[in-house]
C-alpha cells in the first residue's frame, strides 16, 4: 500500500506540474455538463435509465432558470460498454469539450479508467453508483451506497428472519469480494456463522452444481451479491429446483438494475434487499419524481436505484454551484465539503466531508410481486467502510482506492 501511494504521489505532483495549462474560461451563456455512460452494449440496462435521469434533472434545472443564470449544456458520450472508450471519451470531455463537471461511469473499472484523467485536468467528477467503496480522492464525489451501508442494515434483519448459518454466493470481482468481507464481518457481529463463500465470474449462468452444494451444506440463509444477466439464472434455477421455500435468500444487488422485474413473482418473492431507493417508496418526494418521469418519458417502471443516485448527484452538484455562486472547481468542492444536503426521491442525501461519499437513508425491503416493499427505513447511514480508511480533511492529496483490511 505504501509504495502504491508513493507512486501516486510522485505521479500526481508530476501531473500537477504538467497541468498548469491555463484554464481560461471564456464567458458564455451555457455551462457544460459532461456525461459518460454505457447507453448501448451489455450494461445499457444500467446506463439508459441513468441517461434519462440525467436529462430529467438537467431539464428541471434549465426550466427553472438554469444555474447562476446560465443554461446547462449536456455533452454526452455513449461508451458502448467498452472500457477502452471510457479513456477515450474521458479525454475528449476534459481536453476538447472542456466541460465544467463530469457525471458518469457505471462499473468500477469504468470509473477507474477516467478518474485520473478528471483529476489531472481538474475537472470535478461525480460517480453516482452503488459500488464497493474505498475510493479516496478529493476530486470525486460518490453518491451511491457502499457495501457496509447496505450490509449493516440487511444482515441483522435477514439473520433474525432465518437463522445463524450463512452461505454466500458472490460475483467474482471487486464488488463481490469486498461485499463478502463485510457480510462475513456483520454476520459474525450479529452472532451468526458464515459456512461458505463461493465466487462466480460474471458470465457463469449454470448454478446446478452450486445448488446441490448449498443443499449439502444446509445453511439457514443464502446471501447472494450476484451481478448481471447471467447471474440472474441463479434465482431462476434456485426456484426451479424448489429450494426457494426451504432456504431464504438475501441480496445486495438484485433490483439495482430492476432485475426483480425480470423474475416472476414465484422466483423473486421474499428475497431480502437493502437499498437507498425503491419505486414503491411512498413519500411525497418519490411520488413527485415518478410523476415528472412519467410526464417526460411515459413509463416510470424503468426507474432504478442508480438512476435515482445519478439524479440526486446532479442536483447535489447544482445546489453546490448555487451556494458557491461559482462554477470553479475549488469553490464548488469547498461548499460540498461543508456537509451539503439535498432532498431527493430517496430521501435526504448528505455529502460526507471526510470521504466525499454520501450519508443517506437505507431501506430494508423484500421483493414482492416484482416490486420492493419497504419493511424498515434506517435514516442517514454513514459510509462506515470508506470512513475507516479515508480522511480527505486530513490528507487532501490522497488518491487511492483502498481495499479495507480486516
Amino acid at each position: 500500500m505504501s509504495l502504491n501511494r508513493r507512486v501516486f504521489l510522485t505521479q500526481s505532483t508530476a501531473v500537477a506540474a504538467a497541468a498548469v495549462l491555463p484554464n481560461i474560461s471564456v464567458a458564455s451563456d451555457t455551462i457544460k455538463l459532461g456525461s459518460i455512460l454505457d447507453t448501448s452494449g451489455i450494461f445499457d440496462a444500467y446506463g439508459k435509465p441513468m441517461d434519462l435521469a440525467m436529462r430529467l434533472a438537467v431539464g428541471e434545472i434549465n426550466s427553472s432558470g438554469g444555474l447562476l443564470g446560465k443554461e446547462i449544456e449536456i455533452v454526452a458520450y455513449d461508451t458502448q460498454s467498452d472500457m477502452a472508450l471510457y479513456s477515450q471519451y474521458g479525454q475528449q470531455l476534459t481536453r476538447q469539450d472542456k466541460v465544467d463537471v463530469v457525471h458518469g461511469g457505471i462499473l468500477s473499472a469504468s470509473r477507474e479508467a477516467i478518474r485520473q484523467t478528471m483529476r489531472k485536468s481538474n475537472t470535478l467528477y461525480f460517480y453516482n453508483v452503488l459500488y464497493e467503496g474505498g475510493v479516496c480522492d478529493r476530486n470525486i464525489f460518490i453518491n451511491g451506497v457502499t457495501p457496509a451501508q447496505q450490509v449493516e442494515a440487511l444482515v441483522p434483519y435477514a439473520l433474525e428472519k432465518s437463522g445463524p448459518k450463512v452461505y454466500i454466493l458472490a460475483a467474482d470481482y471487486n464488488y463481490g469480494q469486498i461485499t463478502t468481507l463485510w457480510i462475513k464481518k456483520f454476520v459474525q457481529e450479529n452472532g451468526g456463522e458464515t459456512i461458505a463463500a463461493d465466487f462466480f465470474p460474471l458470465d457463469v449462468s449454470d448454478f446446478g452444481s452450486t445448488i446441490a452444494k448449498i443443499q449439502a451444506a444446509a445453511p439457514d440463509l443464502v446471501i447472494a451479491p450476484l451481478v448481471g444477466g447471467a447471474h440472474l439464472s441463479f434465482f431462476r434455477q434456485w426456484a426451479a429446483s424448489g429450494m426457494k421455500d426451504k432456504i431464504p435468500l438475501a441480496s445486495t444487488t438484485v433490483g439495482v438494475g430492476n432485475e426483480h422485474k425480470v423474475l416472476t413473482p414465484e422466483e423473486g418473492n421474499g428475497i431480502m434487499v437493502a437499498y437507498n431507493y425503491s419505486q414503491e417508496l411512498d413519500t411525497p418526494a418519490n411520488n413527485e419524481f415518478k410523476r415528472k418521469w412519467e410526464d417526460a418519458y411515459g413509463d416510470s417502471r424503468l426507474i432504478h436505484e442508480i438512476a435515482v443516485s445519478h439524479y440526486q448527484g446532479i442536483h447535489t452538484w447544482a445546489e453546490a454551484v448555487r451556494r458557491a455562486n461559482s462554477f470553479e472547481r475549488d469553490e464548488v468542492i469547498a461548499v460540498l465539503e461543508t456537509g451539503l444536503s439535498i432532498n431527493g426521491p430517496a430521501g435526504k442525501v448528505t455529502v460526507d466531508p471526510k470521504t466525499h461519499h454520501a450519508i443517506l437513508d437505507v431501506h430494508i425491503m423484500e421483493i414482492e410481486n416484482q416490486g420492493m416493499t419497504v419493511i424498515e427505513t434506517l435514516p442517514q447511514r454513514q459510509p462506515i467502510d470508506t470512513q475507516e480508511v479515508c480522511d480527505l480533511e486530513a490528507n487532501p492529496n490522497d488518491n487511492t482506492q483502498y481495499v479495507i483490511d480486516f
Binding site: A18, S40, Q80, R95, L107, A109
Partner: protein
C-alpha cells in the same frame, strides 16, 4: 514484393510526418494515439496471418499479456523502461511456446483456430477471477474484472518522474509504429520473410524442399506476439488502466476484422483497417440511432462477400489496371517462349 526498400522508407517517413503534423488538426491527438496503437496490433496479426498464413483467433492474448506485463512490472519497478521491454519479451516467449506446441503438433486450420480461441478464453476467465486479495504479483493486485489502474506510465528512461504523456506520447507512438513498420518491411524482404511467404503459399511443398516449416512458423508467431505485446503496453499507457477486456474474444475478433477490411497480404492494410474501424466505432458512439454491433456485423459480411481481399489490395489492383497497363505497354515483354527447351 514490388518496389524498392528505399521507396518504402521514404513513404513511411512521409506518412509518419503527415500523421504527426496534419492529422491532429482533424482528430484529437489522444484519439489518434489509440488508433496508432490499434494499428500496431493490426499489423501484428497482418504479419502472422497475411504473410505467414496462420489464422490466429487469439491475437488478443498477446496484446493482453503485453498490457498486463507492463502494468504489473511498472507497479513493481516504478520506472517504465524495463517494463516496456518485458512487455515485448514475455508475450513473444509465450507465443513461441504456444506456437511450438501447435506447429510441432502438426495442428492446422480449424484446430489451430480452436486452440488459440481456447487459450484466449482461459486467459479471459483466469484474469477475470483474480479479484480476490490473494492474487498479487509483488505489489501489483491483479484486480479481476476491474483490472489494474494507477501504474507508472511511460517516462524518460532513468527519470521516473519525467512522464511522456499527452502530445509527447502521441509522437512516441507514431514513431514506434513507423519503426515497427519498417522492421516488418525489412523482415519481409529478408530471406526469412520470403521463405515465410513461400510457406503461406504451400506448406507441403516447402517442407518437401527441405525447409523446417514448424520452426519458421513458430518464430514468426513469436515475432507477431512480441509486436502485439508492445501494442498492449502502449495501450496500457494510453488508457492508464488495464482490464480483462483486453483478453476478450471481442478484442480478438476485432483484430481479425481489421485485417479483413484493410486487406491481407499487405502491411499497410491491417493498420488502415484498425485505425479506420476504431475511429468509426468512436464516431458511432456519438449517435444512438443504429446499434453499433449491427453495423460492424454488416461491414464484415459485406467485405467477405464483395471485397474479400480488403481495401488496400483492391485499390492497388485498380491502380495497377489503370496505370500499370500504361507502364507494361511501354516495357512490353517479348512474346512468351512456350517451348520447353533444355540448355546445357
Amino acid at each position: 514484393m514490388a518496389g524498392s526498400f528505399s521507396r518504402d522508407v521514404i513513404a513511411t517517413i512521409g506518412l509518419t510526418v503527415v500523421v504527426i503534423w496534419i492529422l491532429p488538426y482533424v482528430i484529437s491527438t489522444f484519439t489518434i494515439t489509440v488508433l496508432i496503437v490499434y494499428g500496431l496490433l493490426g499489423l501484428s496479426l497482418g504479419l502472422v496471418w497475411g504473410y505467414g498464413g496462420i489464422l490466429c483467433f487469439g491475437q488478443a492474448v498477446f496484446f493482453g499479456i503485453g498490457a498486463y506485463t507492463y502494468a504489473i512490472s511498472a507497479i513493481n519497478i516504478g520506472e517504465s523502461t524495463l517494463p516496456m521491454l518485458l512487455s515485448i519479451i514475455v508475450p513473444s516467449l509465450f507465443a513461441a511456446l504456444l506456437g511450438a506446441m501447435m506447429f510441432y503438433g502438426r495442428l492446422t486450420d480449424v484446430y489451430l483456430g480452436v486452440i488459440t480461441l481456447v487459450v484466449t478464453l482461459i486467459f479471459y476467465r483466469f484474469i477475470n477471477s483474480t479479484a480476490g486479495p490473494h492474487y498479487k504479483i509483488g505489489n501489483a493486485q491483479l484486480g479481476g474484472f476491474n483490472g489494474i489502474p494507477g501504474f507508472q506510465t511511460l517516462n524518460i528512461p532513468g527519470q521516473p518522474s519525467s512522464y511522456i504523456w499527452g502530445d509527447g506520447y502521441f509522437y512516441f507512438c507514431a514513431v514506434v509504429l513507423a519503426i515497427v513498420y519498417l522492421g516488418v518491411s525489412i523482415l519481409l524482404r529478408s530471406d526469412f520473410g520470403r521463405i515465410i511467404v513461400g510457406i503461406r503459399e504451400n506448406e507441403t511443398r516447402m517442407s518437401l524442399l527441405g525447409y523446417d516449416v514448424r520452426a519458421r512458423k513458430t518464430i514468426l508467431f513469436a515475432i507477431g506476439g512480441g509486436i502485439a505485446g508492445l501494442s498492449g503496453a502502449l495501450f496500457a499507457n494510453w488508457g492508464e488502466i488495464v482490464t480483462p477486456s483486453v483478453f476478450s474474444l471481442g478484442q480478438s475478433a476485432e483484430i481479425i476484422l481489421w485485417c479483413i477490411v484493410g486487406g491481407l497480404g499487405t502491411r499497410f492494410g491491417p493498420i488502415l483497417g484498425a485505425a479506420g474501424l476504431s475511429y468509426l466505432k468512436f464516431l458511432l458512439g456519438q449517435q444512438s440511432f443504429v446499434d453499433n454491433t449491427l453495423i460492424t456485423g454488416l461491414i464484415l459480411v459485406f467485405f467477405v462477400l464483395f471485397l474479400p481481399k480488403g481495401i488496400v489490395p483492391t485499390i492497388v489492383n485498380v491502380w495497377d489496371l489503370k496505370f500499370g497497363r500504361l507502364l507494361s505497354d511501354r516495357f512490353q515483354k517479348p512474346r512468351r517462349n512456350r517451348k520447353l527447351r533444355l540448355n546445357g
